[in-house]
Symmetry: C2
Subunit: 298 residues, 2 copies
């Protein structure tokens, strides 16, 4: 009989592509992963991975097995979700995932309020940029920005929030210099993994074609503040920053709608209900800010 837990390690390696990457995901030492995979292969009597210099890659046998490993994972998640959904106490863990912008520039005070209001709810904020998978129970509540509501996952339950508008921003100093006739190149600032922006239609101010790539949202803002160029930001971020101004001639385009997403079983939980109702109220209060109506056009 195989050790079912080894299948977890198998999945992590299959996804991570290497033993070390899997070890990091699993929060264990890489030698442990090495041994568990070796044990699984021994008990199954078949090689699951090719050992390459670049890491581990699934063999054809491993690929066939992957499907069933994922079935086991799904069942395991459903199992956890079921007991979690039954748990009606206000104590326990609540995991929330939301876009970095919202976490750092808007909702963190509200999250703090909620945590103060419910000291027995252990909170975990996931705001790394990667989208957490609610169905896999990586998080209990997700706050997402959705451009087209057709893209909402069907198996999730959503509460619609206010609409979010974005604008194109540039540093005030740089804008003044441009108005004074400076010809330094103005570049688009984009976040690394988001690729070239399709929304990069230009207004009165023209940019050079070469983008400036930043790894995350904070450095994106810092780059804009330093006058490297212009970038698209949610209005509530750009408008609140005294160093930035909207680029003339660029109307705030709709960016998307905020949605509060929960998953079937966990939705019934007391702490999830408490949180979603709390955040819904706060978000509604932020509606004008999110729509970019808080400041007059510059």
């Amino acid at each position: 009989m195989i050790d079912w837990d080894d299948v977890r390690y198998f999945l992590a390696v299959a996804r991570g592509g290497s033993v070390r990457a899997a070890a990091e995901r699993l929060g264990v030492n890489h030698s442990t992963v090495l041994r568990r995979i070796a044990q699984l292969e021994e008990r199954l009597g078949a090689q699951m991975f090719e050992r390459l210099p670049s890491g581990y890659r699934l063999t054809s046998a491993g690929e066939e097995v992957l499907e069933f490993a994922e079935q086991m994972e799904a069942s395991s998640h459903l199992l956890e979700t079921r007991v979690f959904g039954r748990d009606q106490s206000a104590r326990g863990l609540l995991r929330v995932t939301l876009p970095p912008f919202l976490a750092t520039h808007l909702l963190m005070p509200d999250l703090a309020d909620f945590a103060r209001l419910h000291p027995d709810i252990e909170m975990e904020i996931q705001s790394s940029g990667e989208v957490a998978n609610l169905t896999n129970r990586e998080a209990d509540v997700a706050i997402r920005i959705v451009a087209d509501r057709k893209n909402l996952p069907l198996n999730l339950y959503g509460v619609k929030g206010p609409e979010l508008f974005s604008g194109v921003y540039i540093s005030r100093e740089r804008l003044a210099a441009w108005r004074a006739g400076a010809t330094d190149p103005i570049r688009w600032i984009v976040i690394d993994n988001h690729g070239i922006p399709v929304w990069a239609r230009e207004g009165e101010v023209h940019t050079t074609g070469v983008p400036f790539r930043t790894p995350d949202a904070e450095t994106q803002i810092a780059a804009a503040q330093q006058g490297i160029g212009m970038t698209k930001l949610p209005c509530f971020v750009g408008d609140a920053d005294p160093l930035l101004a909207r680029v003339p001639g660029t109307d705030p385009p709709m960016h998307g709608t905020l949605w509060l997403l929960t998953q079937g079983e966990t939705r019934k939980t007391k702490r999830v209900r408490l949180f979603t109702e709390f955040v819904s109220r706060r978000l509604a209060a932020y509606a004008p800010l999110l729509a970019g109506l808080s400041v007059s056009r510059d």
Copy 2:
């Protein structure tokens, strides 16, 4: 994150009804099961079992979870079956389940021959009396005695073997004593868990109503040899025993047909094919013996 292997322990306890029964099935110490269940409940944050004086019983939460635990088990079995089915080497494990009578009194020399012929195939004979579940891959090949072919599982693949006849046997000494006019009670000898035999129609020799129960087939034969009474045995067993004779007036009734059963994925395996073909040939050669034609009526 829960330890997936704990779910295996959970299932064993849910089915065994007690920690100790589960430990025996799992082949581990009962304290280990105790700790794993405690760990699972702690990580899930919910009680899975009620502690009763008679053992462990599922709570309502546990019953809800059971469904998903069984899903995990099914996926795990499919996973194992898949890699086993791919394995086309003659090396590896081959698990065979067959009725105790066949194993000890007929096929063991043939199994030994097969093992000698294929020294790289690790063999495991399961002949405990309980029927192993092929679908759950508790065995790879099953040799079964089937009275009505409608009872064959639909998801299995079967090869029909020869027919098996049984007769009613008594010790020769006892039979001679009865013929000499002895009036000692003659009892039916039955195997414990098989209950009162429905086939207990009497011939010329009459029995007392009180059965004599034995725990297994070997003690059943020994009891018959010692003259306790008469018992039903496959003809190839009873006829081969010099101490036993058929009871006059009892015709050998059909007992059933031998079937060689295999499961979808594993059937394609080289070692399974080798085994089924080998055993089929040997069984065909035994057909007269199994039909009870090897000796003349006594």
